[in-house]
Symmetry: C2
Subunit: 178 residues, 2 copies
Amino acid sequence: MDVASVEGLDGLSIGGLASDLGMSKAGVAGHFANKQQLQLEAVDAAVELFTAAIAPALRERAPGLDRLRAGVEAWFAYLEDTPFPGGCLIQAAAAEQDGRPGPVRDAVVAADDRWRAFLLRELHAAIEAGELPADTDAEQRCFVLLALGAGLNQAAQLRADPRAGDRARRAARPLLDG
Amino acid sequence: MDVASVEGLDGLSIGGLASDLGMSKAGVAGHFANKQQLQLEAVDAAVELFTAAIAPALRERAPGLDRLRAGVEAWFAYLEDTPFPGGCLIQAAAAEQDGRPGPVRDAVVAADDRWRAFLLRELHAAIEAGELPADTDAEQRCFVLLALGAGLNQAAQLRADPRAGDRARRAARPLLDG
DNA sequence: CAACTTAGCGTACGATCGTTCGTGTGTAAA
DNA sequence: TTTACACACGAACGATCGTACGCTAAGTTG
């Protein structure tokens, strides 16, 4: 995951991993059916790590705005300070794999969809609970939240902007209120 | 640029280009000092093409909100319907090259900075002209506009969402008014 | 006409790529 | 004690990578 976050899923190479790990090329390759499987497992592992980073913040939060706020805050904090040297692997893989068909792209899209579905679900729950006006455009709010995440990731990775997290939070605040 | 927009700047290969063009590998390689120069020229060409796509919309627009609105609209239209099969090359290269040092990354960052500088300049001009309140946080508005661009690009490329352009425009509207 | 530049070609090099064998070496189950 | 299995190894394969060299044909400039 560390390598893939910097070099991309295509930049992953069996030989490179082997020398990083002090192993032989065959020793590394034996753990995966083929390179594509390695890429898929890297995506899966990154999704699992992201989920584990977010889940605690959601625990015991009621569906709706409260849960949404907690999720977005944990998400932004994750993007601001990722566990990988090259930033959020899902974001990087999404930008890399868009445009190319195949199972790897599908896995990345599925991962992205899961998070999008969470945002939408909580927005609708907030509407249903009366926390947001009944005519709120949930998809519009979801789009902007996803955009703020992408923008935060770009500002943090490309520009190393330390204020990016707060800017994203400030912009998101009116979207998380009634 | 077509290849790089899909495969990334690292996915560019002399041999691949050669067979695409029906030329020999040496015939293609002779036009560039080395591969890095090829990558840099691809970035330069993409910047030039983007500039050419935006410039007409800015012509004869007064600095300030009017010029800013025209620039953002042209920008979103460009992201919505890019001249490359893999989406905006600068956006793709930015996501690919963040995290890796070197001249290619520097060129991508410089290209991104140029656009960011345009947005900031027009925002400040709008403040100076009294079109925006004097206490407007130009950098905050700039951050959100850049985020909407990134989000639009992601939605268009990864999700092929036909409504992404309108969603970005709708979200940007309050940022382009007084 | 002669000198020079340009563009493209074929060929070759060392390196790295993903993948596939056969082999040895442990550890765990029968 | 024997069998089975997981793990890592070295070696080799065909392919592709970037780069370099020498050559030819066409065009430009003096």
